[in-house]
């Protein structure tokens, strides 16, 4: 029996959005009478934290703390159209729409504040704590609470805004395939280290070191959630998962979590995550879509590490103990 060790590397990029269908999302933003802000969307939160990120984007743009923002999604009676939560488009497309709507609302807010303070709106700034002040003279200020009250009950202004972000549809050119299927690209490089039991074909992923470039980590803790979970899913894809274990034979498909294999809490690789930020030109605060790309580089990195360990190439996913063992046996007889 021998436990053999190997490591492998992979580098990837990942596109944001689905331009080949036209890629729109809308957002509405309005203030309540006491200066809280509602973001209205029809975008779906799958657990990745869409609502929280939209709240932070709106708060940053308006100039209020995040806890002053409420996100109302996804109700088709109230929320304007969003293409959907897929293609790593949620943060990017909806975020841009929220920025546009929030900017419009902010402008009205500043205009009302200007009337109250008897200055020009262009001379005003927000302090991020819920106040509007004159640039260079912060003692001359008014709370957003009072501005909203004034807008509603005194000045008859609607502190609100509309946001629409559309990447126009790209039609692939028939003969050359010239097309613009997406906008900004995220990047990653992963190094995986494995142990392979050459008598059973069992693989243990010891470590994965993932470097992800995601444009901008809008909320670093939530980015970390996605990247750690995605890295786990990548390893899972590499070594465990399929609904058809004997593809293309249709038999023996798993029907529960016992038969559908994924790494358990006792199978976790020591996981390191390093994030780089090269802001994208068109992303909200430079963000790109990190949700999908983070689960991709582990797959080839693990495959290459298995080869490095035992000298057999498994070019069929998932890289099961059976496939490795068969290859090892073919290697010794061949």
């Amino acid at each position: 029996m021998a436990i053999r060790r190997g490591r492998g590397v992979a580098a990837i990029n990942y596109p944001t959005g689905m331009n080949l269908g036209g890629d729109p999302t809308q957002a509405l933003v309005h203030s309540t009478p006491t200066g809280n802000f509602m973001v209205t969307l029809s975008s779906v939160d799958l657990g990745q934290g869409m609502k929280q990120i939209m709240a932070q984007i709106c708060a940053e743009t308006i100039g209020v703390p995040t806890d002053r923002v409420v996100v109302d999604t996804a109700d088709t009676d109230t929320g304007p159209h969003c293409m959907g939560t897929f293609a790593s488009r949620g943060t990017h497309r909806a975020g841009n729409a929220v920025i546009q709507a929030a900017k419009e609302a902010r402008q009205v807010m500043l205009e009302v504040a200007a009337e109250e303070l008897e200055v020009n709106a262009s001379d005003l700034e927000t302090d991020g704590q819920g106040n509007i002040q004159v640039k260079g003279a912060p003692q001359k200020s008014i709370s957003i609470f009072d501005v909203a009250l004034s807008a509603h009950f005194k000045r008859g202004r609607s502190i609100s805004g509309r946001g629409m972000f559309l990447i126009p549809r790209s039609y692939p050119e028939k003969e050359t395939g010239a097309m613009k299927p997406s906008t900004c690209y995220a990047h990653a490089c992963t190094v995986a280290e494995v142990e392979v039991d050459d008598e059973t074909g069992e693989v243990t992923v010891l470590t994965v070191k993932n470097v992800f470039e995601i444009g901008r980590a809008l909320n670093p803790k939530m980015v970390e959630q996605q990247l750690v979970g995605g890295s786990w899913m990548g390893i899972s894809h590499a070594l465990y998962e399929t609904t058809e274990p004997y593809y293309p034979n249709r038999d023996h498909g798993g029907t529960d979590f016992n038969q559908y294999l994924m790494p358990g809490p006792g199978d976790l690789a020591q996981t390191e995550i390093i994030v780089l930020e090269r802001p994208s030109a068109d992303g909200p605060f430079g963000a790109k879509g990190p949700g999908e790309m983070c689960a991709n580089p582990q797959i080839p990195a693990v495959a290459n590490a298995v080869f490095d360990a035992v000298g057999v190439r498994i070019d069929t996913l998932p890289i099961t103990p059976e496939r490795i063992l068969r290859a090892l046996k073919a290697q010794t007889t061949g």
Partner: protein, 160 residues
Amino acid sequence: MAKVPVQFTLNGAEKAEFIESGTTLLNALRDKIGDTSPKGGCHQGTCGACSVIIDGELRLSCLTLAETCNGADIKTTAGLAEGGVLHPLQRAFLDAFATQCGFCTPGMIMAAKVLLDRTPNPSREDVVEALSGNICRCTGYEPIIQAVLVAARANSQNAA
């Protein structure tokens, strides 16, 4: 269809209902009693999202018939916070960013609570074993393991 009475304590409150014979505890809690904190992720006993504590033991409410729980003391995640104050496990899950979609969270917390009730200072291995019947598809488990370990430390510091 024959209805049968069930009576048990849920998070300290007496509950009595007439249910159809053969109803699982999961469905009785969710549909009759209105405690939707246990989730139905598989109804097979393979995901742990429906985990509840019955008479101090972790059980899968999807495989437990409600009629067999007469007189039992049942606890769910919905009853964990006391007086609006989160349980240390709940607090730790928040602080460790250990929830994403949240669907597995109530079951995870129940599994972790049983562990900490019996083993106040668990090792990482203990935590892994305690969570081994609960599936999470979002987090990769590590943040959840960390949250349970943090809660255990918080608990033991409070006790000391």
